[in-house]
Every structure is written in structure tokens, then in C-alpha cells.
């Protein structure tokens, strides 16, 4: 996260770290139910097998997991059948954990948006992750406040790519607070009046965040995928062979 700050322990209890073998942290992910998480499809490029992955929850410092962290194996990885690597469209995956997590103050699911529920342009939301900070990779979970940007305005920043309805844009013209490599799959969440946080985006792509190229970050639009997510959970819970 560029232009962010260190988050307090337990501030984002749905944030998880998707880790693989020796690489350690590869991508962010988001807990949406006791046995289910979301991330983006491009994190699995070339490493589609569930055995290669584990999910760590309740984490703040990558280097010192601490007593609140929980580590889960991955039972299934369900990449959206329409994921398109070239234009990074339909960039979403549902991850089934080996077993249910234990809900604690440091491990909690986030809310999925209701059908058609979207954040209003110019409202402020939060992104979190252990990705590049522009000059280094952090150990402690970073958080940054970003502003939701309309798709039309967003398209004007990216004449090399097409912004589709499956995408959501957030950030600032000057790119001052933005997600970056290593944040992929992590959450963009907005708080409602009752102090409840809803997941509207998964960090997906953007301009090269440690260069002078400016512009917002692009997130997978979770609202667009909520019916598909619910359907995958139903199929993999109740329609096993």
C-alpha cells in the first residue's frame, strides 16, 4: 500500500495472507465465511494446485505471526471460468479452506454486498495489505484510505486497458494512496452507518505503482460477482459428488 500507515492488530480481522511454499506471502485474501475466502484469479497463475497454498489469518506482522494467527490449508481453488489474463477481467477466485476457522476478535468474516449494492462515487473506503510501499515491502499490515472513482473517470486514466463493469476504481489522481504488488487479492472495504464493513473490491491491477505513472487502483467489483460467489459456495458445500 502506497501512502498508507501501519494498522493496529485486529483492525481488519477479515484480512488474510495467501502463502505458497518458500515464497511466503504472495497475495492478500479476504475471509467471507468460516470456511471460505476470496482472492483474485491472477494470484494462481502457474500455481493452480491447492496443495501449494496456505492461508494465514489473524496476522499483523508477517515476521511474527503471534498467538492470534490461524493457518489453514486450501481445500479448493475456484477461479472464475471467464478470467481473462490479457485484460485482467473477471479477476476473482473463491478459496475453500480445509476446515472452519475459529472466530476470534482477530479473525472475523467481512460482509458481502447485497444484490446491486455499490459504494457511491467519491465516498471513502479502506484498502489493506502487505504489498509494496513504493520503497520497500513491509512486515506489518498497512492500511490506506481511498476514494471511490466512477468508471468513466477511471477509463480516462487507462487508455491502454478497458475498464469493464467487473471492475471498480479507487484512489487519487496523484496516486498518493494506492495498492501495489503484493496487495493483490486483498480487500477494499467500506463502513456503513452501523459500524459494519462490507467488501466491495479485491485489489486487482493498476499502473506501475512504484513509478511516476499516476492514477487510481483497479479492483474486482465484488457486487458483480456476489451471485456467482454464493453459487460456488452452495455447489461445493451441498452438491459434492
Amino acid at each position: 500500500i502506497l501512502g498508507g500507515r501501519v494498522s493496529r492488530r485486529g483492525a481488519w480481522p477479515w484480512q488474510c495472507s495467501l502463502q505458497s511454499g518458500q515464497s511466503g506471502h504472495v497475495c492478500g485474501c479476504v475471509l467471507i465465511a468460516q470456511r471460505w475466502a476470496l482472492t483474485v484469479a491472477h494470484c494462481f497463475e502457474g500455481r493452480e494446485s491447492p496443495e501449494l497454498w496456505k492461508v494465514v489469518l489473524g496476522l499483523n506482522n508477517l515476521d511474527h505471526p503471534g498467538g492470534q494467527s490461524q493457518t489453514q490449508g486450501v481445500r479448493a481453488i475456484i477461479v472464475h471460468p471467464r478470467y481473462n489474463r490479457a485484460v485482467v477481467d473477471y479477476d476473482i477466485s473463491v478459496v475453500q479452506l480445509d476446515s472452519e476457522v475459529e472466530e476470534t476478535p482477530f479473525v472475523r468474516p467481512v460482509c458481502l454486498p447485497q444484490l446491486g449494492q455499490t459504494p457511491s462515487p467519491d465516498s471513502y473506503c479502506y484498502i489493506t495489505g502487505w504489498g509494496h510501499m513504493g520503497n520497500r515491502m513491509p512486515f506489518k499490515l498497512q492500511e490506506g484510505e481511498v476514494r471511490i472513482i466512477s468508471l468513466t473517470q477511471c477509463q480516462s486514466y487507462f487508455d491502454m486497458k478497458t475498464i469493464t463493469p467487473r471492475m471498480l476504481c479507487a484512489g487519487y489522481d496523484a496516486g498518493t494512496v494506492d495498492s501495489c504488488m503484493g496487495d493483490s487479492g486483498g480487500p477494499l472495504v467500506c463502513e456503513d452507518g452501523g459500524g459494519r464493513w462490507t467488501l466491495f473490491g479485491l485489489t486487482s491491477w493498476g499502473s506501475v505503482c512504484f513509478s511516476k505513472v499516476l492514477g487510481p487502483g483497479v479492483y474486482s467489483n465484488v457486487t458483480h460477482f456476489t451471485p456467482w460467489i454464493q453459487q460456488q459456495i452452495y455447489i461445493h458445500t451441498y452438491l459434492t459428488d
Partner: protein
Amino acid sequence: CIAPSCPTACVGGNAACDPRNHNCTRCEPISLELCMNLPYNLTSFPNFLGHLSQRETSVSWESSLFPALVQTGCYQYLMFYACTLLVPKCDPVSLQKVPPCRSLCRSAKEKCESVLGIVGLQWPEDSDCSQFPEDGGNATCLLPEPGVDECSPSHFKCRSGRCVLASKRCDGHLDCDDHSDEDDCGCSERALWECPGSNVCIKASMICDGFPDCPLLVDEDNCSVCRDNELSCNNHQCVHRTLWCDGRKDCRDSSDEWDCVSLSDGSGPVLTVFRTAAEYQICADEWNHQLSHLTCRQLGLGVPSSVSMVTDQPGVPGRRRWLHVHPEWNQRNGSALQARLEKRSHACHSRKRVSLVCTREECGLRPAVGMYSHRKKR
């Protein structure tokens, strides 16, 4: 090869694999779409940027950087040079990599490095030109032959010769310097299929693929011809009506078991199941709390907050169809609600239906954040 015998990768590729040799070199066909129009079609890895495979190259940052840089027109043979780094030529006889000539590297770097500087990016450091042989020396190296294509298959070539990314063809923005990327944008001119009733173009592969793409979803119409007693799955396979919503997957995409349970009904949240694609009420006589839990979870609606039994109004139109709780409903662990119900010859004695209200499970709260708020120290 370090191992006593060559690993299969070498043996399979009839490579020259000398046990004393520390690596097995072999040529492989180029599969990177970006470089499928080169004057050679065999490559070998690792490449000159340190990537170990074409798959790694295909998701590398350089494979996005170079096509974007080509659009600036900074150097006529930039794409050719980039491909000699990304998928280096492999000589089928010696099985050795053939590098680009130093002059080609220098030309590309001199003309394009400054463009990257404008956006705060560096030229890929692995491509230091001194590692490549001088052209004309005794080491063979690659130079662009006349007629080599300046654009890659991932580009659209403007009439003026410039290259723009294929995704910009007919995207409504004028990208070519001569605007030719927005000419002839009819669907048929681009070998695409035009959605009836709109000017949306889709690839032929998107027709009847289970995903609606046209505004009126017409690309998913008339995709299967099922018999009267069959229904069409989402993937347009035909499945017998009696198999619909029985709790077992019969469609390859399992769509015969989608949307089988519903809580909406004219008269409040009454539970209905679409067994054999007909609407059934659930007889409340043997209903229980576990089934209420299962129903709410299966619908992704959380947990039950209230359950009630609704008596049928007298004179309800037509004969209702009833499903009853299966006697072995709890032997079927892991199965969906519709698998735990059964038809019976008789109607529902009490004529009471199940009405259920679910509430979303707790989510989106941050209890740990409150833990710090009591500390008022300054």
C-alpha cells in the same frame, strides 16, 4: 546433468545431455502469443531476463512493458528485440541460444530508454548490451531481417504502420495516429457475431457458452433442443425433468440443482422447492429446527430468526403440490435441503406450510478495535 542419468526433460527432448554437463539444453516451440510472428519458432530457457519458462515469461512484467512501449514507436524493431530476450532463438543443431547482436540492443536502448524514464521506469537491467556479441564477429547473433514484423500478434497494425494494443481496436477511442483503429468496426469485418437488436459484437465462442453476453441475452437462446420431458441445463445439456432439484448433480455444470429452494411467495417468506421444475410447498408436519438452519445456510442468508407454520387459506386456487420431510432426512449429511424431502401419495394432513425468516450472520464487525479504546492515557 547433475543426476547420474539425464532427467526425463532431457531424454524426452533428445537433447545433447552429457552427465558432466550441469544443465540440459533443449529447444521448445514458441508458445508466447506476443512472439508468434518471429523468423524463428524454437526457443530455450532460461531466457535473457532470467525467466525459467514461457509460462513465467507470459505473466512477467516485461511481457506487459514491451508491447506498451512499442505503441510509442520509439524504435522500429523494438518488438523483435524484445522477443529475442523473452523467447531467445534456439539453434536446433547445437541446441544453444542465439543472442541478439549488441548493435540491436544498443539501438533499442538508446531510442526507448528515455521514454521509460518519463514514466519513472527503468530499462530492464538484465538486458545489459555488453553481454551480447558484436555483429560481424565470429559468434552468431540476431539482427532483424528485412520484412520482420514491427507489431506482435497482440497488436493491431495501423495503416500508418504504428502498432497499438489489440484491445484498442474499435474501442471507441482514436488511438492510431491515422485513426485507422476505428475504421471498419462492424462485427462481420472483425469476424465477430453481432447481437440481434443491438450493435454489440461478441466472439463466436461466446454463443451458447452458458454466459449471457448480448443485451437481450439472445446469445444463450435456442441453444438446445430438449424433448418435452427434458429441461435444458445452463450449459444447454438436456436432463430428464424428474432429475431436476433432487439433490444430485445430473447436469455436468450441476445447474439442475441451482435455485431449487426459495423463500419468497406472495403471502410472505413461505418455503417452496422446485422439484422436477414444478413448485412444491413443504408440509410442516415433520419440520424441525435443523432443517431451518440448513435452509438459511444453503440460501446464503445466514441463520433462522423466526419459523412459523402457515395454514392454507380456504379455497386456495388449484391443488397444491406437497413435499414431506424424508424419514431419513438426517442420514444425508452434506446434502442440500431438496435431497431431504420426498413426495408422498397423500397431501399434507395439517395443510400447514413452512414460513421462515433468516438473518445475515454477524459479519463486518471489528471487536478488537474496541479493545484499545479504553486506554485514555496521554
